[in-house]
């Protein structure tokens, strides 16, 4: 459906020129539409940008092009069924989204998860995080005009996808999580393949620094661009690498450990710059931390059940349950209001991308249009995650 692009005056008194949508006589502003189909938005995000020359005056995101009302859909799905829908939100960290749902249901049922299942979940979650950051790294470099890193990132990501395919049965939307554990046991080849992957990854990760991180053009493009202060990051609810790039301690894995995250050693990466380069560094360093977690766990997978015994039809007791996990993009929350039935009465997904997007206008004012690509790249927006 066609939607009028309207510029609404908020703080800055920018003249609205929706009809003209072009060259306003006063002030010389130029309004351009980035998206819904645009190479840099990585999905159907529509940004209405008011430009003065090449300087951004105001960005207005228009959402909803991929809004499926998943929250409403989940109200008619049973507790076993709705987990798979959340893979379709942040499809790059599908496994971690499923994890949050499973955790929330288990909280309601007060289920005890077998230790083997916990370790499997964390291993898969960290592999997903690496895969997601790999894709982000390639796409970010591609947004800034370097095409080659994309292929190098996909080489490693493909290996993870193969591991996922072998154990979970699918490459992207795994649906490996069930309330009480995981769907199948690990594939016999899993440990060997993950070790091979770690070896491959460690031999290639230095190339990433040579090719992009230390590249002077890349540093100039990202340093000091899109600065988000610590206070603003908290106020905008920015989490994940965006929040940590601004110096906010917000890693749920550290603050509210779930599964076995309190038993493994890893560092919460915090950069204090608040600019695009800090956000970039957080993600690149997190890659190494995820590998560290996997290295600790891969040889110590406890024997035992991979799934707790559950009833065929799950019923949550009356009440409210909230679970928080750290996806590749930030804090993902599942809020279930149960009335005691077999389906949730109301379910709310707190998606990290939604809050991170709300900071976009604030941090990109006064930047050049080329900077917008660096900012959007480091915000790492996944549009279905925002629209839900």
């Amino acid at each position: 459906m066609y939607r009028e692009t309207q510029i609404v005056n908020t703080q800055n008194n920018i003249p609205s020129n929706a009809e003209d949508a072009g060259f306003a006589a006063d002030g010389g502003e130029l309004v351009i539409n980035v998206g819904p189909q645009h190479p840099a938005t990585h999905g159907v995000l529509h940004l209405v940008i008011t430009l003065q020359g090449e300087t951004i005056q105001k960005i207005e995101p228009h959402l909803g092009y991929i809004h499926r009302s998943i929250e409403k859909m989940c109200e008619s799905l049973s507790y076993r069924q709705f987990i798979y829908v959340t893979s379709r939100m942040d499809y790059l960290s599908a496994h971690i989204n499923n994890h949050a749902c499973a955790l929330c249901i288990e909280k309601g049922l007060q289920l005890e998860i077998p230790p083997r299942a916990q370790v499997i979940r964390v291993l898969m979650g960290e592999l997903t995080r690496i895969a997601s950051h790999e894709l982000w790294w390639g796409a970010m470099a591609m947004d800034l005009g370097a095409f080659t890193p994309f292929f190098y990132a996909f080489r490693e990501r493909e290996t993870i996808n193969d591991i996922m395919e072998e154990t979970c049965g699918a490459r992207l939307t795994m649906n490996y999580m069930v309330p009480g554990g995981v769907m199948y046991d690990l594939h016999p080849n899993f440990q060997k393949r993950v070790k091979d992957f770690i070896q491959l990854f460690n031999s290639k990760i230095d190339e990433y620094d040579d090719l992009v991180t230390s590249n002077i053009i890349f540093q100039n493009r990202t340093k000091g661009v899109g600065v988000l202060s610590k206070e603003d990051a908290v106020s905008f609810g920015c989490t994940g690498p965006v929040g940590r790039g601004s110096g906010v301690q917000c890693d749920i894995r550290k603050l509210y450990p779930y599964e076995v995250y309190d038993k493994v050693q890893f560092d919460e990466i915090i950069e204090t710059g608040g600019d695009s380069f800090s956000r970039y560094l957080v993600r690149v360093k997190e890659l190494r931390q995820s590998i560290r977690i996997i290295e600790q766990l891969i040889d110590n997978i406890p024997e035992g059940d991979f799934q707790a015994k559950t009833k065929a039809v799950l019923k949550l007791p009356k009440g409210e349950f909230y679970s928080r996990v750290e996806t590749a993009r930030g804090e993902f929350g599942v809020y279930i209001v149960s009335e005691g039935g077999t389906t949730p009465y109301r379910i709310k997904f707190r998606s990290p991308g939604f809050s991170n997007l709300s900071a976009l206008d604030h941090i990109s004012r006064g930047c050049k249009i080329g900077d917008l690509m660096a900012i959007m790249g480091t915000l790492d927006l996944v549009i279905p995650d925002i629209d839900r």
Binding site: I32, G145, Y152
Partner: protein, 358 residues
């Protein structure tokens, strides 16, 4: 020994002995025209394929490998496809300028071919101000780009064209300075004489470090002038979708595409002529034996080898570096390249006057 010079001379001799001089001149022009157009088509096909293959190898891919053996007919098939396509003209566009723009870009590229020496004695027009002619004509193509951007009636196109304008105008300065430094060393503007002056060695090696600096600046500046990554702001796809040629389709788009590659060839040919001796084989001082062996390799092979090496260098840049931002692009030129090349020109003049070069 095989030489293109003999062929051209015999053709000219035959033409002038068979027809009257006017007729012979016209015949020559027609032959040159067909040669240039043929060269354009071949170069376009070869360079696009080369770019795709180079990119693929750097990106751990195979690249085109379906049409013809090893995919060598891929670009031919693409060209056929583009010819079949409908050339759309947007509703709000300035129709005349919109359709004129690709031809301006193309014609500008064709004109620069005139003074380039492809092999010994194989040159369309050995004008005595060859280098000056090249620098002058190469700035015409920006008019085509501005025209395309403005006439498209598209905001992305306009932004791309304006960026391109600013970029080409500023980078011409340092490209010009690098060219002048070779003119200073060789003491001539004529292409054939510049090449002849490198009989005892290429200027890149004979001119000490200042010549190398001039060469590096020249490569950076021409990369920018041809709108190639990392300076492809005019068509920065993640920002401006396709920049100034967003609205073009079919053969009109193909002309822009072709002109981009022809321009790369031309600037690399100029770079090879000025710094690497054009068709002149690799001669080292007075090593007679070595020089004689080098002379056995045909001059056209030397020229093409050098040119394609430079083209490969520019492709290598494209597939390695991220894109600059528009203000960084200009500050790179005005804060770094221009001061350095001015200072460098001073040094080169000193070297030339004192005769310090080898």
């Amino acid at each position: 020994m095989f030489s293109l010079e003999n062929i051209t001379n015999s053709i000219q001799h035959w033409l002038y002995s068979t027809f009257n001089p006017t007729m012979a001149l016209i015949m020559e022009c027609v032959i040159v025209m067909f040669l240039v157009i043929g060269l354009f088509a071949t170069l376009g096909l070869v360079l696009v394929l080369m770019e795709r293959k180079v990119a693929a190898r750097m990106q751990i891919r195979l690249g085109p490998n379906r049409v013809g053996p090893q995919g060598i007919l891929q670009t031919t098939a693409d060209t056929l496809k583009l010819m079949m396509k409908e050339g759309l003209t947007p509703n709000g566009a300035d129709k005349f300028l919109f359709n004129l723009a690709p031809f301006i870009v193309m014609i500008a590229a064709m004109l620069i071919l005139a003074p380039i020496a492809f092999a010994k004695g194989f040159q369309i027009w050995d004008i005595n101000i060859g280098v000056l002619y090249v620098t002058a004509v190469s700035s015409v193509s920006v008019i085509g780009i501005l025209m395309a951007g403005w006439a498209s009636n598209n905001k992305y196109s306009l932004l791309g064209a304006m960026r391109s304008g600013a970029q080409i105008v500023s980078y011409e300065l340092s490209a010009g300075f690098s060219i002048i430094s070779i003119v200073v060393l060789s003491g001539s503007l004529q292409v054939s004489e510049i090449i002849a002056s490198q009989q005892t060695g290429w200027w890149l090696f004979r001119g000490h470090i200042p010549a190398i600096i001039a060469f590096v600046i020249f490569i950076i500046a021409v990369t920018a002038e041809t709108n190639r990554a990392p300076f492809d702001l005019a068509e920065a796809e993640s920002e401006l979708t396709a920049g100034f040629h967003t609205e073009y389709s079919g053969m009109k788009f193909a002309l822009f595409f072709l002109a981009e590659y022809i321009n790369i060839f031309i600037v690399c040919a100029i770079g090879a002529t000025l710094f690497l001796g054009g068709w002149m084989p690799l001669h080292i001082g007075n090593w007679e034996g070595f020089n004689r062996i080098m002379d056995y390799i045909p001059s056209s092979v030397w020229f093409l080898g050098k040119t394609f090496f430079l083209i490969f260098l520019i492709m290598w840049f494209r597939w390695t570096f991220p894109r600059l931002r528009v203000d960084q692009l200009l500050s790179l030129e005005w804060k770094y390249l221009l001061p350095i090349s001015m200072f460098n020109l001073l040094l080169i003049t000193l070297i030339a006057i004192m005769g310090w070069h080898f």
